[in-house]
Amino acid sequence: MSNRVLWLLAGCLSIASAASLSDADAQALLRQSDLRRNGWSSYVGRVKITDYESGKADEEHLYQVSQKGPDKTHVEFLSPREKGSFLLMLGDDMWVYLPDTSRPVRITPLERLTGDASNGDVARTNYAYDYDATYLRREKCGDTECDVLELTAKRKASTYHKIVYWLRVADAQPVKAEFYLTSGKHIKSATFDEYRPVAGTTRLVRMTLYDQIRKQSHSVLEFSAFQPRELPDKLFHQGRLDRF
């Protein structure tokens, strides 16, 4: 067999490898990437969001996030002007508790926050639960070889209609993303900036969201104090939403 035939065969195998990934494993790849953000089935952690306008720090928000399974998220708002507020997401159902209403108020999926960073960016980080993945291509993103997935919302509570998601080939670690509304408008982009070992897993600790409508705005999300913790089911009951 000549060298020319061997190179041809290797090329075919490489193409077949990429094709098989696109056929069967995009969703598995997405699940693997979620482990970088949701490494445990039940956990608690804090998210600090700093909004920047024209490069200068503007507002800060602090949240305590408790998550159990892919569909139960309880968010406590800790920044001064939001203290005493809570958000609960149970599958597609959402409630918000605001101190001035003193009761859990049912909210529609459209009432998720948008802007630089949204409640959805804090509370809906299990993409394999919210989106169907399709394999698009493999390409360089900076110095890293990436698999590119297209995620399409499969739940009405999904934060975005479509996400284009770049994952590092070596370990499916998220590198960057683009977020789209139902209208097709490109609303935000994200870079996943820093990962660190946390309680035996490697977790995302810092990401940046860039507003594609107001180009001068971006938000930095810092994840801290994340730890696995057994959480009682009743923490995720709307009737207890006012209790920290």
Partner: protein
């Protein structure tokens, strides 16, 4: 055995069951939450039809503190100190809430003064038997001055079901408020097929019994509907809905018809007026949406009308947040209707404007 005993016996039984070590978390830790806000508000009433000052000033200091130990114990208190100047100056300290809570497995026990809101309505409620008075022109209690009831409460949660038993005093520590009686109430809540529903039965000491139900349901991405039906001598009905636009603005509409009985009758309404019908409409930027270029602003316009006497009141609220700790706001309302012969027409001014600033820590 009276209703008070019926409520207290399960409470004490639950406390004795609470020694089950299996309920305790592995390593309980204490957590603290606190907040402090200071509000300064000036008001001006135009077209005042009664003797008195047409300008006023309010200084409001509101501290709150909460402590939780593990998943078992919690303590919460929220106070409001007011200095109000309208002609003369009056100071007052209100205990909005102060309660102790204890969790034993699926059971939560609470004793103290606490705000409960069981009604599903936004501007009105038919089933909110223990709720603070719902004011259609200020449904969110914009200055956070509502106070809770002194009560003992047991909550049992299992899956999507919840049973709450409450005995609320007309005033053990606080002074008795006119029209408020000791109340024993049971609420069963369940989530099924997207409907968040509650069934409520309550009995006022020496008074009548209320039975009612309410629901909320989200339809699609943008629509929420809610309703309440209560029976207390006669039926009270509330139907409402909310529509959220993709732009982030939302509209809330409600129709409410209470009977003109002692329990439902507004202050000043003659007993001969018969059943009343109300309409409510609110347009605003949802406080949950951070619109590009609008994220510092909260803006709402509301309109309430008594459909029987034709009186109405318009309310405008605008607020702007500044950085992390400051908020400036404007609140204005203008009533209309036959003076002295209609519900909102009896309000003794033609317009009220309040401007304030709040510092939050």
């Amino acid at each position: 055995m009276n209703a008070r005993v019926l409520i207290l016996v399960p409470l004490f039984c639950a406390v004795s069951l609470a020694d089950d070590p299996g309920c305790a978390p592995d390593s309980p830790t204490g957590e603290i939450r606190y907040a402090l806000s200071l509000t300064e508000e000036g008001s001006f009433a135009a077209g005042l039809r009664v003797p008195g000052a047409d300008t006023g000033n309010l200084l409001l200091l509101e501290p709150s503190f909460a402590y939780k130990y593990g998943d078992r114990w919690r303590f919460s208190t929220s106070l409001a100190g007011l200095a109000e100047t309208q002609g003369g100056t009056h100071e007052q300290v209100r205990v909005r809430e102060t309660y102790v809570g204890f969790t034993a497995g699926d059971l939560d026990l609470t004793v103290g003064k606490r705000i409960l809101r069981w009604g599903a309505g936004y501007a009105f409620t038919a089933t909110g038997i223990l709720d603070p008075p719902r004011v259609a022109t200020d449904p969110t209690d914009r200055l956070n001055l509502n106070e809770g009831r002194e009560l003992g409460e047991a909550d049992w949660i299992a899956g999507k079901q919840e049973i709450t038993i409450v005995w609320a005093s007309a005033g053990l520590v606080d002074q008795h408020q006119p029209g408020v009686r000791d109340t024993a109430a049971v609420r069963y809540g369940v989530m099924f097929d997207g409907f968040d529903t509650s069934v409520i039965v309550a009995h006022d000491g020496g008074g009548s019994t209320l039975a009612g139900a309410n629901f909320t349901r989200v339809i699609g991405d943008a629509v929420e509907i809610h309703g309440e039906l209560a029976w207390r001598q006669q039926a009270a009905v509330l139907l409402g809905g909310k529509y959220t636009l993709r732009s982030g603005f939302s509209a809330i509409a409600e129709f409410y018809t209470p009977p003109n009985t002692a329990y439902y009758r507004p202050i000043g309404m003659p007993a001969s007026a018969g059943r009343q019908h109300y309409g409510f409409l609110r347009l605003g930027k949802s406080p949950l949406r951070e619109l590009p270029g609008w994220k510092e602003w909260d803006v709402t316009v509301s309109f309430v009308s008594n459909l029987d006497d034709g009186s109405r009141i318009g309310v405008f609220d605008a607020g702007r947040r500044v950085k992390n700790h400051f908020r400036a706001y404007l609140h204005a309302q203008t009533p209309g209707g036959k003076p002295g012969r209609s519900e909102f027409g009896a309000i003794p001014y033609s317009a009220l404007v309040s401007i304030g600033v709040t510092v939050q820590m």
